[in-house]
Point group: C3
Chain length 185, copies 3
Amino acid sequence: MISLEKVRQRAEADARTNGCYLNPDQNFLKDLFEGLKVNEERYGYPSCPCRLATGKLDLDVDIICPCAYRDIDVSEYGCCYCALFVRKDVYEGKTSVGPIPERRPVYLQIRAYGSGGVPAEKQTEKLPETVTAPAKETVEVKRKAWYCRQCGYVCFREEPPYICPICKAKREMFAPLRISLDVQG
Amino acid sequence: MISLEKVRQRAEADARTNGCYLNPDQNFLKDLFEGLKVNEERYGYPSCPCRLATGKLDLDVDIICPCAYRDIDVSEYGCCYCALFVRKDVYEGKTSVGPIPERRPVYLQIRAYGSGGVPAEKQTEKLPETVTAPAKETVEVKRKAWYCRQCGYVCFREEPPYICPICKAKREMFAPLRISLDVQG
Amino acid sequence: MISLEKVRQRAEADARTNGCYLNPDQNFLKDLFEGLKVNEERYGYPSCPCRLATGKLDLDVDIICPCAYRDIDVSEYGCCYCALFVRKDVYEGKTSVGPIPERRPVYLQIRAYGSGGVPAEKQTEKLPETVTAPAKETVEVKRKAWYCRQCGYVCFREEPPYICPICKAKREMFAPLRISLDVQG
């Protein structure tokens, strides 16, 4: 059991740490916190209240709140997909926001739900060769080490973040970290 | 020599970065900053003003401010062990806090002070096999690489953090990072 | 094309994440944002508006905003070299700031501009053996992995940061991360 208040406090700390704000609409917020609480009790992690989780961590990891799309959606659209987190100007009421398109790549949706769970018109996106749908039972997530060429931040993920959580550089600034061994005989 | 003002500024920047606040009681704060200043001048690092440091970095590293228990104590109890850092609702006076239990594991206390320095009734905690007390002279700290399965944050520590400093996931979300070599002959 | 408003929003998020503030002088800010916008459109990255970039990422990486000197300059002088980012007490008008000396090491300036681009009186600084000027065409940046002994933060850079972006420890707290292999025959 996790309390609603704990869910709120974690979101507040997270917003402060990552340069954004909570939606100022308290009733709206409360509904989202309820959703996060339900998901955390059901799955063991607070998956996004606006998306369908599978209950398998490796398939859901990009949609655990704060989701992998939060920073870039707040930056580009003024709020995240759920509108839980907002940009400063939106928080201050200077800018209003419209609907946020789903940024989650189709191949991750297919990996999670199978191709039957994703509308056909969206499946035109070219899939990586390693994805064959439905693959729920056999999926293997390949994490790699990445570093930000601007500030040096290192992370271990399937894909680099859209925005560096330390220096806010964009995704293109990340490069894979390779380990080379110098063995001499 | 470090000025009190510098100690305050560092704590302010740290609170803002990590999603918490400084205790609003200015006189109380000033005493803590005095303690941090004294410790930094004595040991070379600002160890916790509410705990006894050994002066050996490897034995004290978890109690350098912000200590390894700060984020989780602020999250769970509303403030850190010293009450230097507080949660938003505590900062705003909506919640009051009581005494904070010492979260530092007994084995780390024994490693630092020897078993004579830790009350007998606390020594019932099962110790890791590698800890034999008192071991002050021969201690070897074994750091490992960990990553957060939610956001990919990588760190190199004895144990993973209680809360991910980037995405606020809990400790259970961390896994050890292993390097595998694929050598073919 | 990047909008001025986007440049501002990124700087706001970055300040909030890293424990500092934007200069409260809005006209002054606007000029700096214009400079960042011009640089980003010219080079593909927002190099410091107060310094000369080469257009080669590896030579400019320490002067992409937020530059590698931002946190330490804000901490020590109350603002960064450009005065784009300021410390809390400066933001609140309690402290005023004077001119900020250029902290960028001379060897990096020579590596970027050649020795002709750096005043002779500054070239008395001892250069690392690997620097021969002008070396613009052949420069090779050697990044290494570093970790913060206080909090475990890992980064991959030429030199460790002046201040740990997670726990605010000073540069001396960083150590190189070495990978050891245990091969038995």
